[in-house]
Structures are given as structure tokens and as C-alpha cells.
Symmetry: C2
Amino acid sequence: MGRAQGFETGQAVRAAREVFWRDGYAEASVPALERATGLNRSSIYHAFGSKRGLFDAAVQSYLDEVVRPRLRPLVADAVAPDALVGYLTGLRAALARAEEIQGAAGCLLVNTSSSPLASDDAVRQTVADYRAELRAALRRGVVAMRPDAPEADADRLADVCTALVISAFTLVRVDPPSALHCLDTAVDVLKH
Amino acid sequence: MGRAQGFETGQAVRAAREVFWRDGYAEASVPALERATGLNRSSIYHAFGSKRGLFDAAVQSYLDEVVRPRLRPLVADAVAPDALVGYLTGLRAALARAEEIQGAAGCLLVNTSSSPLASDDAVRQTVADYRAELRAALRRGVVAMRPDAPEADADRLADVCTALVISAFTLVRVDPPSALHCLDTAVDVLKH
DNA sequence: TATATACTGCAACGAGCGTTACACAACTTG
DNA sequence: CAAGTTGTGTAACGCTCGTTGCAGTATATA
């Protein structure tokens, strides 16, 4: 009963996500979020309670719609031998693309981890979980690639790949060539 | 001629540096900088012109007093074979220590690279140079460790180490164990 | 000692922030 | 059709931000 919501929630969250992605939590102003979502403050605060509530929804949407789809081939029942290389090259293309499309660059969660919001326990947990998820997926890719390698080698390779990916995210804004080079190095490392 | 400055510039910059390090540029408020440095706004603005001027001084001080001293053994005339491992273990200790002492964590420049300030050309250049400097130093360490290794191997090892170090910086705030593990992995990789 | 110069304290500025209050419009339910 | 509930628009709130003006103080030079 009552009036129906005049906008699609998922679409609004997606628009807000881009702003948080580009500007970070603190520097994403509510007026900017209004503009991006096309919503009035009233609608935002009614639907999400606060700026932080919208951010949390954006993070959830980021995990569900950006991170996990990209990692899916690495957590499938049967992981293809070249799934990890495919992930890395796909990510490379995405990083290069994101650079020119708009300001949103790198990884929303990695960006967040170097901000004061990282002191928030909920955020900290989310980012830690994300890192563990990424690492576990990459490890699956390593194992699919080299089924006979010792566990210690798989662990080490997974750690190295994870670090190279995170570094790429970190560097995209300030040094895009280095960022892309990180992912190339990851592919290179996997072939030795 | 005229009245002498009542505070030591280097000391004030060092105090401000900690605040920027902990909170980032945008979230470091001028009142917080006043408190940390013990200076009045007037003194800050007279000496540094603006908040941004103080930040630039803080970055310079960070490079001169934190980054370069730590990298010195790696750019000496004769680099010791275990200089790189020494750097990594020293950094590990520093990361673990910084966690408990105060909020300032990770690397001031790496933290900055995931913030909107990274869009500033001067900042971007500084961070890019820093990354190149770090990578070059680590490469020297690799070469000192394995004088007979092919160039391509040295490059790859240097890239991997650089990425592991940057990842460690990125993760310190949200997942300290993983951050320390990155540096352990770097040492591990160097021994294979 | 007189004068010019440089540093500091106090107070206020305009602007933007995130948030809230309230009235009105739209629609579902009885 | 009436009642009740929910979404939207307008306006303002109190607060903090970075910055500036200005008077006053301390020092170096002449």
C-alpha cells in the first residue's frame, strides 16, 4: 500500500557506486550522489537512511555485480587451465578501459582500504574478506594450471598473483603503464 | 631582520606528516594540523601558504626522512647480498610497529594514490617517481643477491617484490596479517 | 633608540557539508 | 469513494571546512 517507488533501486545504487568508486567515500558529496542517481535527497535518505547506507549498498552491489562475475570462472566446479590467465588479461583490458571512460578507476575496495574509512570495523572486515576471496580464487586458477605443483608453490604463486593484482589496482590512477605491467608480470610469472 | 620564527620548521612538518599519513589529505583538517604541530593557523598559513603547501612539505619530508634512508643500503656503491632481505624484514618490523603506535599506517604516497588527490598532476608525478625509485632500488638488491641471473629474471623478481611491498602497504590497515605475509612471501620468493 | 620587518593570536568569513522537518502528491487497500 | 500509507519536493538546520584580515608583539637593522 502507499505510493510506489519511482526509481529502480539497483540502477540508483549502480550510479552511486561509480561516484564512490571515483571519489572515495568522504569526497563523494551528497549533491554529487543526487546528480549521479537522479534522485532527490529525500528519496536517497528515505531509501538508504544515510550516505553511509548508500555506500554499503554500493559496496554490496560492487561485490555482486563486478567482483564475483569476474571471478566466477575461477570458482567453477571445473576450472579451465587458462582461466587465471584469462582473468588477468580481462582485468588488464578493464583497467585500461576504465582509465578512459570515467574517473572510476582501480578497485572500489582497494581504494577504500587506504582511507580513514578503513578504520571502520565493518569495512575492514569486508575488505579482508574480499582479499581472501580473491586470493582463494587465484589459487584455484594456479592449481588448475599446474595440477602437479607442490602446495607450497601454489600458495606462493597465488600470493604473488594477488599482490600483483592489488598493486595494479593501487597504481592505475597515478601510473597506468606500471599498473598494466603488473598484470603482464603476473602472466609472465605463471609461465615459469 | 624581523621577528624570528618561533618553531622549528622540520619538526612541524614532521608532525603534520603523521596526520596526513594517518588521515589522508582531504580528511586531515586544519584544526587537526594545528593540534598536531602546536601551531596557530596564522603560523601555518604564513609558513606554508595553504594546507596543500603543508602537505607538499610533508611529502618531501616523507621522501627525505622515511623512504630514502630505508632504501639507502640498496643504492649504495656496493650493495650487500642480503641488503634486499634486510630491507624487507626491516619494513616488516616497521609495518607491525606502526600499527600499534598510532594510526599512521602503510605508506603516505601509496595511501595518496588511491585518493582523488591522485588526479593532481604534481602528486601523480611524485607517486610515479616514488614507485620507479622503489622498483629500481629493489632491482639493485636482486642483482646483488644473484649476480649471475639473467636480466629478465632480475626484472621479474624486482617487479614481484615491488608489488608485494605495495600490497603490504595497501593492506596494513584492513588486514595486517596479510600485509606482513606479503613481505614474508617476498623473502620466500627471493630464496627460490 | 627608532624604524622597519616578520611572526603570532583572535576573530570572522563565505561556502559546503550531511542531515532533518514538513507539507504535498501518488497510490494501495478497505 | 474514503482512509491510510508511502514516496517526493522544498527549505532549512547546525556544523565544519579552508582561508583571510587585522591588530599586536617581538626582533633585527640603522
